[in-house]
């Protein structure tokens, strides 16, 4: 056997998968058709955001690459929703594209147990009894492995569209993976087709920035990684321009030349990240759309115009760009294009991201119908850990919906499937108040340490952080005063005779009113500011989280109620044909999963409960 784990694909999913498997001690290799594109940011030059920032923190808590890499490449940091409460805040950073890529490459190179191979994968090595044993590369080399993780993103039968020009490929200048696509079809996985798009890249030297509004990052930088103390790089600003009626007219007049609208593209695009054609047609009453101009690096002339992806011919693209303020003279470095690609119906997967057909074949990232670097990386991490666990014949790591956004995402994918590229939103998480970006380490690091996927350095860092938090909590609890005493200090408290600790007071004190407490209590100055923030935020949400705990326990109990995979739902009775068909198709592993299947009614779930509790009783 050559390897324990082969990862095919060097994107965000592949890199996390390979690194995680290697950290777990599995002898791993990453095969990509071009080593110099490992970790490339194919679309926007930013990591994090709402929902996504949460995933990045979770990856970091399990010692993954993404947060570490962005903190070596971050040139503008902003916490989104800063004024809307800690539970819904998403940290985000703008990246220097080249620095990010080299950070990822260096992290992989420094990773023991990991080999990087430049090759294309043509097909799978199958044993006589149809078991997956490895891959055959483009130059005919056979590589054996116990497990294979496919993370080929948009490269499966990738087709790029720019006006009526369609080119095969997974990304500009990169060939599509057709061999692998047909090899996958041979594994009887359900395939579908999706589309996504990317805007043009603009030449900064041809933009009149003086006319544009500037957008700076936060003064008080919050790094993405829990381990990062400070950001060394110079910070830059982004610029804001907007479309206008002239822009809209140019696009509307040329819709027939758009690949999207001329009917050339068949795949479904994301509703929440619409192309500019979509925005103008669907929101016709809106006269203007904001466009963020994001520099792609400290030493780069390339500007990423966020919000105007399209599939129009180049001359039309240039014309509508030049109708916007500041872009009157603009030149494109690369045109916008839409890309269509194959994806695998993620309902073919188990919660450990292995295919139901082949327990040693794992899929992660855009191939599963998701979009976004962070979503891909989160799946890669879990696939890498589970491939390594599979090699050791150990139980898989399944993060549930109450533990991590990554768990929410994977559960959504494998139970509900996708009908548009899946993107993380905070609203997808029922237990949002407990799944915060600030407490990902509390939720996951101990799990990671137990698994062995967290390295010594982070394990020590987390241990110290835990002690400091406990310490701070203890000190803040020791100061206890009556309502009368608090009010005497100018802190308004209900006169209910209840003693309240300083920690209790922090829970009900808005951020902008903290100054008074700081002026009264020296202790608050002595606690490390990061630790203070964590403890205060925890305290703020604790009462809500306690309430949610009942729901969470009910949910966990339901996932313990296993349904046999060979259960014939038609035989249960009391289920309508629609329910029988959906359940027979999905074969849910537990009542908990069945309850989350689309279209399954509560009545059907009670019938399943009854069947499990009294299998012999007629309905």
């Amino acid at each position: 056997m050559d390897y324990d784990v082969i990862v095919i694909g060097g994107g965000h999913a592949g890199c996390e998968a390979a690194a995680a498997a290697a950290r777990m001690g599995a002898n791993s290799c990453l095969i990509t058709h071009r080593l110099d594109t490992i970790g490339i940011m194919s679309c926007n030059p930013a990591i994090g955001g709402l929902g996504k920032g949460h995933i990045v923190r979770e990856i970091d808590a399990l010692d993954g690459l993404m947060a570490k890499a962005i903190d070596r490449a971050g040139i503008q940091y902003r916490v989104l929703n800063r004024s809307k409460g800690a539970a819904v805040q998403g940290p985000r950073a703008q990246a220097d594209r080249d620095l990010y890529q080299s950070a990822i490459y260096n992290l992989l190179q420094d990773q023991p147990n990991l080999t990087l191979i430049e090759a294309s994968v043509e097909t799978f090595l199958m044993s006589a009894d149809h078991k997956l044993e490895g891959v055959i590369t483009g130059d005919g080399k056979k590589i054996n492995a116990k497990t294979i993780i496919i993370t080929t993103g948009t490269f499966l039968r990738g087709m790029m569209h720019e006006g009526n020009v369609s080119t095969q490929g997974g990304r500009v200048d990169d060939p599509a993976a057709f061999g692998l696509s047909s090899a996958l079809s041979g594994l009887s996985l359900n395939m579908g087709r999706l589309k996504t798009g990317t805007p043009a890249r603009l030449d900064a030297r041809t933009i009149n920035f003086d006319l544009l509004q500037k957008q700076w990052g936060d003064d008080d930088i919050e790094p993405l990684s829990f381990m990062t103390e400070s950001i060394a790089l110079k910070q830059i600003c982004c610029y804001i321009t907007e479309t206008n009626e002239a822009t809209h007219k140019i696009i509307a007049d040329n819709l027939d030349q758009s690949a999207l609208y001329a009917g050339i593209i068949e795949g479904t695009g994301p509703r929440y990240c619409p192309s500019i054609e979509d925005k103008i047609i669907r929101f016709a009453d809106k006269k203007s759309h904001q466009v963020f101009l994001e520099p792609e690096g400290l030493n780069s002339h390339s500007i990423y115009p966020n919000g105007i992806s399209n599939s129009l011919p180049q001359p039309i693209q240039l014309a509508f760009l030049r109708s916007m303020r500041g872009l009157e003279q603009v030149e494109m470095l690369k045109p916008a294009y839409a890309i269509e690609y194959d994806y695998v119906d993620p309902r073919c997967l188990n919660h450990n991201l292995a295919t139901k057909n082949m327990p040693n074949l794992f899929l992660a990232g855009q191939i599963n119908g998701t979009t976004g670097y962070e979503e891909a990386a989160g799946q890669g991490l879990i696939a890498g850990i589970n491939a390594a666990l599979f090699c050791k014949a150990e139980a898989p790591l399944i993060l549930d919906r109450a533990t991590a956004y990554i768990g929410v995402m994977i559960d959504d994918l494998v139970t509900k499937g996708v009908d548009e590229p899946y993107r993380m939103f905070t609203s997808r998480a029922e237990y949002r108040l407990s799944l915060r970006a600030d407490n990902a380490d509390s939720r996951l690091s101990d799990i990671g340490i137990a698994l062995g996927v967290v390295g010594d350095l982070r394990a020590r860092h987390w241990a110290a952080c835990k002690i400091a938090q406990e310490d701070a909590k203890r000190q803040l609890t020791e100061i206890r005063l009556s309502p009368h005493e608090w009010n005497a200090q100018g802190i308004k408290v209900k006169q209910d005779g209840k003693m309240r600790s300083l920690l209790d007071i922090l829970a009900i004190t808005p951020d902008d009113a903290l100054a008074l407490l700081f002026s009264k209590y020296d202790l608050l100055h002595k606690i490390d500011s990061k630790i203070f923030k964590k403890v205060a935020t925890d305290s703020k949400y604790n009462s809500y989280i306690d309430r949610q705990q009942i729901d969470i326990e009910a949910m966990r109990k339901d996932s313990q109620l296993k349904l046999p995979t060979d259960l014939d739902y038609a035989a249960i009775g009391a289920l309508s044909n629609e329910m029988i068909e959906r359940l027979n198709h999905a074969k849910p592993e537990s009542i908990g999963i069945a309850a989350r299947l689309p279209g399954i009614t509560p009545a059907a779930i009670s019938a399943l409960y009854r069947h499990i509790k009294h299998p012999t009783m007629a309905a």
């Binding site: 929703n81 409460g85 359900n190 579908g192 695009g269 949400y541 809500y544 309508s576 629609e578 009545a603």
Partner: protein
């Protein structure tokens, strides 16, 4: 832009359920001119064709048909006839249960009914329905939500006019429709809240947050209105208890007989005739009232009578209204005791003090100690007592036109929804996560009210309340 659905994502066709066929008589018990037998599920059309030896009629059209025995022997049709009657076929999903159903209107004689149902039992996979099973299937097939199911249960059990009106509002719409409206409002509010969280403000209409606050306020008022009179609604659903209590031989049983127009209690001239509690049900002002007559209260050596008196004391504390009776023939001292007893010891919420046998001493009414001075013999002032009773019943159990929740389960959930909406309004407006959590709680609860969540125990309890076949 064409969506290319995966094969598994194609809409799955809804259809009838092919498990057991169930049947039950759905008209009342006993012998009647016409009896209605309902059948649901399975191969109803085959059953119809086998029974009538004719093709199944169009759905929802009545057909006059002869019903034959199912025996394969076709030689002498006449000999095998069970009955002749009307037949209606309902095709799934447009039926009460959502399954294929048939209604057979046959003659209501004992033997007709018995033979017909015996014939049904011979049909493959056809069995008598369990209590509430038709409604259970309707619920499972998404034909009814919990509010409607509960309303139907009450409707079937409704004894009085006002009760029936209240149950019908729940069963046929008003309340259930209201809940669905509230649920869709909550879902819309949640969507707006989530939009505020997951999308940047520039992409959203400016008014969205103000609108949200206004909607939450309006919704709270509307929802609160549905339980504002719920105490009365519960009373109406459960019915009232009227205790008749008082000194021995003061005429309690005569009053009971008068109110119920039946000779329920044995009336003699000897004190101490009534030793058991006698219950009688009647309708006062549209509300069902259970009247409990009891042994008179006096000091007695008879141990059996003593027990009866103890029961009377207990009764007073549980009754919604108590008629405390004495009569002119009794001594002044007993009257005074009676007043003391009701006020101090039992705190009857709604006492009506009555003195009977006023015909024996018409001058007595100058004393102001009693609410009513009556004579059950001459019917003097009995109307006045009856009117007083009616107005008190109305005050306790009569509700305005607004549909009200009438089950404790419903009221508890509604109260929690109101708490969640208050939480939404009162929590820090700059913590969107917390505000969204309150909306989530409210909409989950509304879903629970309509029977979407953890309903199993309620279901069992509730379906047991149903008569077979209803």
């Amino acid at each position: 832009m064409e969506n290319t659905p995966l094969p598994s994502q194609e809409a799955v066709k809804a259809g009838p359920v092919h498990h057991d066929m169930i049947y039950a008589k759905s008209s009342g018990a006993g012998i009647s001119a016409v009896a209605i037998i309902r059948v649901s599920g399975g191969l109803v059309t085959d059953l119809i064709e086998a029974l009538t030896r004719k093709p199944c009629p169009q759905p929802r059209y009545a057909m006059l048909a002869t019903f034959y025995e199912l025996a394969p022997d076709h030689s002498s049709d006449h000999a095998n006839i069970i009955d002749r009657g009307l037949l209606l076929y309902f095709a799934a999903p447009n039926s009460f249960t959502g399954e294929d159903m048939a209604e057979f209107h046959i003659h209501g004689g004992e033997s007709c009914q018995k033979d017909f149902m015996a014939e049904l039992a011979k049909f493959p996979k056809c069995r008598p329905a369990e209590p509430g099973e038709f409604t259970k299937r309707a619920f499972w097939n998404g034909k009814m939500d919990m509010v409607r199911v509960e309303g139907l249960a009450d409707l079937i059990h409704a004894q009085s006019r006002a009760q029936r009106k209240q149950a019908a509002a729940q069963s046929f719409g008003a309340l259930s429709n209201q809940c669905h409206n509230w649920l869709s409002m909550l879902i819309k509010m949640r969507a707006n809240m989530e939009a505020l969280i997951d999308f940047s403000d520039e992409e959203l209409p400016e008014q969205i947050e103000t609108q949200l606050n206004d909607q939450a306020g309006a919704l709270r008022i509307a929802i609160n209105n549905s339980i504002i009179d719920s105490k009365k609604a519960v009373k109406l659903r459960e019915g009232l208890k009227l205790a008749i209590i008082g000194t021995p031989n003061s005429g309690k049983s005569t009053l009971l007989n008068h109110l119920s127009n039946e000779k329920l209690a044995l009336v003699t001239e000897h004190a101490g005739t009534t030793r058991d509690l006698i219950r009688s049900h009647l309708e006062i002002a549209g509300v069902p009232v259970t009247i409990i007559d009891s042994a008179g209260i006096r000091t007695t050596a008879d141990p059996i009578e003593q027990q009866g008196i103890a029961l009377s004391h207990d009764l007073l504390s549980k009754a919604d209204i108590a008629i405390i009776m004495t009569s002119i023939a009794e001594s002044e001292s007993v009257n005074l005791d009676l007043g003391k007893m009701s006020a101090d010891q039992h705190q009857t919420p709604n006492p009506i003090r009555v003195i009977n046998k006023i015909d024996l001493n018409p001058e007595y009414r100058k004393n102001d100690q009693f609410d009513h001075y009556i004579s059950l013999v001459t019917q003097d002032n009995v109307d006045g007592l009856q009117q007083d009773l009616e107005s008190r019943v109305r005050a306790i159990a009569h509700i305005a036109d607004m549909p009200q929740f009438s089950r404790q389960r419903q009221i508890n959930i509604i109260q929690k929804i109101i708490d969640a909406l208050d939480g939404f309004q009162e929590s820090a407006h700059d913590d969107y996560g917390v505000r969204a959590e309150y909306l989530r709680i409210a909409s989950d609860l509304m879903g629970r009210l309509l029977g979407r969540i953890d309903i199993e125990q309620i279901l069992d309890k509730l379906f047991n309340e149903f008569c077979i076949g209803k």
